[in-house]
Amino acid sequence: MEFIQEVPGIHEVILKDKLIKKKMMRRMSLFPHQAAPLGNLELTSDEIQKEFENDTRELVSELVNLPTRARIQAMRALPLSFHERRYVRSRVMSVKHSKKNDLLPTCCTDCHQQTSLFCRRFGAGVTTARKRLVIWQDALKEIGGRFGTSVLSYFRFVKWLLLFNIISLLINFSFITIPQIIHSPNITHTVNFRGLELLTGAGYFNQTVFFYGGYNGEVIVNQPPYNMQLAYFFTIAAYMVLCGVSLIYSMARSFQKNFVLVSGPAYGGAWRLLCSWDFSVVNEKAIQNHKNNLSVQLKETLSERFQRKARVSVSTVLKRLALSLVAWTLCVLLAIGSCAGIYFLQSDQSRLVSGLADDLNAEASTLILPVVVSLINLIIPLTFSLINKMEHYTNPRTNIYIGIMRNVLLKMSILGILCFYWLSEVPYTISCWESFVGQSVYRLVLVDFIFCLLGSFFGEFLRNIIGTKCFPSLGVPEFDIATNVLNLIYAQTLAWIGIYFSPLLPIIQVIKLFIIFYLKRVSLSMNCQPPKHTGRAAQMQTVYVALLFFPSFIGALSLVAYTVWSLKPSEQCGPFQGLDKPFQTVHQWMDTVHNIPGSEWAWWIFEHVLRNELFFYLITLIVLVLTYFLWQVTQGRKQLIRTLREQIVNEGKDKTFLLNRLQSIQKQRRATAAFSPQEYTERTYFNQNWMNTLPLEM
């Protein structure tokens, strides 16, 4: 049956598809724009017609042989006008039809046709439905249309993080929380709900499933038995692995797409002119801005080129170096200062809390630290940008990257100092320390959210009013993508750190991201203008994903891993009470596995491979060797690209040389033909541009 014929040979299909595309490209470049150069080639209209007919016939016969889906795709992708595509389609259809008529129209073929039609319609329906289901599709379109791709990348990032958190919420909820709730549905609350808990996470929430303390580690004996310890351990581990894999995957993908392909000679002005225009922007003001910025940037690059030729004197280089050294020292000092402040506040506060246990004031005082952290996060980056203004960088992109680096340094050192405190002192001083850490993270997440709301109100709304009403010279604020993205990364790091201590923390993160999306959207359209220096949006996106991976995810992962592997869980609460380390649950489990007959191999693998250092040395060694090997391959490819490029240039030279020869010969022949005009037939004039129409295979 035809269906069976369609399935095999996917490679063949792809090959054919490529062939057709190549042909069409050739055809389109031979006959661009209503065949204008054909006049130059001085072909008669009959011949043009014939050539056209030949090409079309070839194309039709190739299209007929493709399976239905691929044919539709190929026809859509023909760079022809709609009329021509329709013509091609009708020819294809008629050929198909005549073929069909050769076969006897049995009930079976009819049925088959019907089903294939149905399947196709169904497939189309599903794709449309899927497109509609994607969250915020229209909102994203609108944002892209009004503010351009670089702003859009921020909102895409929000959406991406939201998906991450929804997945983690689903996993945690279904594998940890639901069994726990089923197992022991009524937790006795010693404290009444007062409202302040919403902010602090303490008191009423302390014993709920929101935090580590609300779970207990007994094996649920109902049928089927459910081992809570293992479930807790493996759920968190699976989520972390999932996050890591998807981060690495998307990072590698976008790195390959946006950096590796980009590096090359086509980099500066050509890119800016040929592909930077954002056709999707329809806002009049935004377009005017875009034009102005583009003109400024072009002028800058040109003057930079001139400057690069003019050598910079040694004294200015030294001055710049000294300036950036001063700036870096200032930034590092500020970061260290804020870290020290946070550390002392933290340890002071724990003394305060232990003195005033179970009092409303004590509970409220726990909010001091998150507020201070958020204030630092708000104010120090502003100072950094002031410091940044004092420096001088020739390349605006270096400027942006340095700003990002300093902010990341600050945020990560703050988180680092907090984590250090939580892991080095808290476990030995507080009875249910995991819940305590969970509550601290909860407070940080929540206060950060409140500051984000306030920030967009005061920072953007009021700044807009001041800029438009009081000091028109200030103008409308720009939407600062870098700061906003870094705040998101910071919040996500907190969420990852808290996942072990508070398994339902992703709820907060989901709500937060959801609100942030709408808030920023409104704030953007009411208060802000699109940023002036839009770097290359796609590249910046890669940097953000990389930042999310390297300090943020890796940091959180190592924190959780350290907790699981080497910290003693609290004795009074939580799933792992009574164990030396949470990881011990796996040991215990493996021991029970050992006793089950027929599964000794699993125990053997665990005992001799996974617990053996040599195994990990070997894996590291293999990875290193592989990396080296792949690096060598890339080096070889680079060499190859260089050679091929030279070859293209040489061939271009060859072509020009041959063309000149051809033209001079033609001139001679025309001169001789002037004596005997009957024998000379027109037609062999050559257009100087014909060589551009040859496809350049690269």
Binding site: P32, A36, L273, C275, V282, K291, S295, M698
Partner: protein, 189 residues
């Protein structure tokens, strides 16, 4: 009759779906917008055209510096007046849609930038392109020296076979290195 006249026949709709990158909803929306642009008595005829000025006045194209070029490129009118039939209009939206391939997008981008329709981007085309992008006002316009310097830079970077012009494959080569292009070459109704 007004409502029935603006409806698309089912088989035509499926044909449009099959031959363009647009979804059913997008085609219907495009049809609605297009019939609004037509004169009342032209609405009955399937092949009636909308003049270029009306297309350029659409809010999606109104401020686009390339609007006239876009109309010219997608128009199949015999008189080359840039007027669009409904199918031309669909073609335009299809090429600028989300799901169009990079090849199609770069092909049409090339034709839009090729102001003199000769199949290559030469010095003159690039100059017009720069003027379109930076705007015609005195403070944003580049000086002649800057312009020639810029065009030389562009050719140096993208003219691989060194024949003084950028052809389609060279153009596509530049574009293949710009990951933002696909998302920015987009017009949505």
């Amino acid at each position: 009759m007004g409502t029935t006249a603006t409806k698309l026949p089912k088989d035509q709709l499926s044909e449009y779906q099959e031959l363009t990158f647009l979804t059913k909803q997008e085609i219907l929306l495009a049809h609605k917008r297009f019939t609004e642009l037509l004169e009342r008595n032209d609405r009955q005829q399937p092949s009636s055209r909308v003049p270029m000025d009306k297309i350029c006045a659409l809010p999606e194209l109104k401020s686009n510096p390339f609007r006239r070029r876009i109309c010219h490129v997608f128009s199949t009118s015999d008189t080359k007046d840039g007027s669009l039939s409904f199918e031309d209009f669909l073609d335009l939206l299809s090429a600028f849609s989300d799901s169009a391939t990079l090849e199609i997008k770069s092909h049409y981008a090339f034709r839009i930038f090729d102001f003199d329709d000769d199949g290559t981007l030469d010095h003159g085309d690039l100059e017009k392109l720069v003027n379109c992008l930076t705007g015609e006002s005195a403070d944003t316009r580049l000086t002649p020296e800057e312009m020639s310097q810029l065009i030389n830079n562009i050719l140096e970077e993208s003219d691989i076979d060194k024949d003084g012009t950028v052809n389609l494959s060279e153009f596509q080569h530049v574009i293949s290195r710009s990951p933002d292009f696909v998302s920015s070459f987009k017009i949505v109704l």
